[in-house]
C-alpha cells in the first residue's frame, strides 16, 4: 500500500517542521515539549512503515522509543523542578 508510505513521509515532514521550535525555543520547557512531539511523530512514521512493509519488527522499535521518550521528558521535568 503506497498510501501508507506517503502518509509516513507527511509525518516525517511535520516532525522536521518542529525542529524550528527545537532550535528557536526561548526556554528549556519549549525544547522539551518539541522533542517529545518529534518522538511521537517519528513513532507514527515507524508504525506506518511497519504496515507498509508488513513486518512487525518496526513496531518493537516504536514501542522502545515511546518508553524512552516518556522517561526522558519526565527526567527533564524533574530537573526543571530542581529535585535532581
Amino acid at each position: 500500500m503506497n498510501v501508507f508510505l506517503y502518509c509516513a513521509i507527511c509525518f516525517v515532514v511535520l516532525a522536521l517542521c518542529l525542529l524550528i521550535r527545537l532550535i528557536k525555543g526561548p526556554s528549556v520547557a519549549d525544547r522539551a515539549v518539541a522533542a517529545d512531539s518529534i518522538d511521537i511523530l517519528s513513532d507514527m512514521a515507524l508504525i506506518l512503515y511497519a504496515l507498509y512493509s508488513g513486518r512487525g519488527i518496526y513496531l518493537d522499535i516504536a514501542l522502545i522509543t515511546a518508553v524512552l521518550g516518556f522517561v526522558g521528558s519526565t527526567l527533564v521535568a524533574k530537573y526543571l523542578e530542581g529535585k535532581l
Partner: protein, 112 residues
C-alpha cells in the same frame, strides 16, 4: 473497508498538523503544551486504530494488532503524566507566561 482505514489515518494527519501549527504559533510555553496534547491523543489514536484494523483484516497478523493496542494504551496512560510533570516543572523553574494571560491564581497563592 480500506477506505475506513484511510479515513482514520487522515484524521490523525489533520490533528497532527493542527498540533504542529499550534506548537509553532502559540504565544507561551504552557499554551504550546496544550497543542502538543493534540498530537499525543487523537494524532496517535487515529494511526493506532487504523493500524489495528489493517493488520487484523488485511495482513491476518494478530501479533502486530496486539502490539499496536499495547502501544495505544501506553501512550494514553503516560502522556498526561509527562505533560503534568513538565507543566509544573516549567512553572517552578520560572518560565514566563505571555502578556495575554488573564489570571494566575497559582502564582498569587504561592506568594502568600
Amino acid at each position: 473497508m480500506i477506505y475506513v482505514i484511510y479515513v482514520f489515518i487522515g484524521i490523525s494527519l489533520f490533528f497532527a498538523f493542527a498540533g504542529v501549527v499550534g506548537l509553532l504559533r502559540m504565544p507561551d510555553a504552557f499554551c504550546r503544551m496544550q497543542s502538543s496534547t493534540n498530537i499525543s491523543t487523537l494524532g496517535v489514536l487515529g494511526v493506532i486504530i487504523g493500524g489495528i484494523l489493517y493488520s487484523a483484516i488485511f495482513l491476518h497478523n494478530a501479533e502486530m494488532a496486539i502490539k499496536l493496542a499495547v502501544m495505544g494504551i501506553f501512550y494514553i496512560v503516560t502522556s498526561p503524566i509527562s505533560g503534568h510533570a513538565i507543566a509544573k516543572g516549567a512553572y517552578r523553574h520560572g518560565v514566563k507566561m505571555s502578556r495575554k494571560t488573564v489570571c494566575d491564581q497559582y502564582g498569587e497563592d504561592m506568594e502568600k
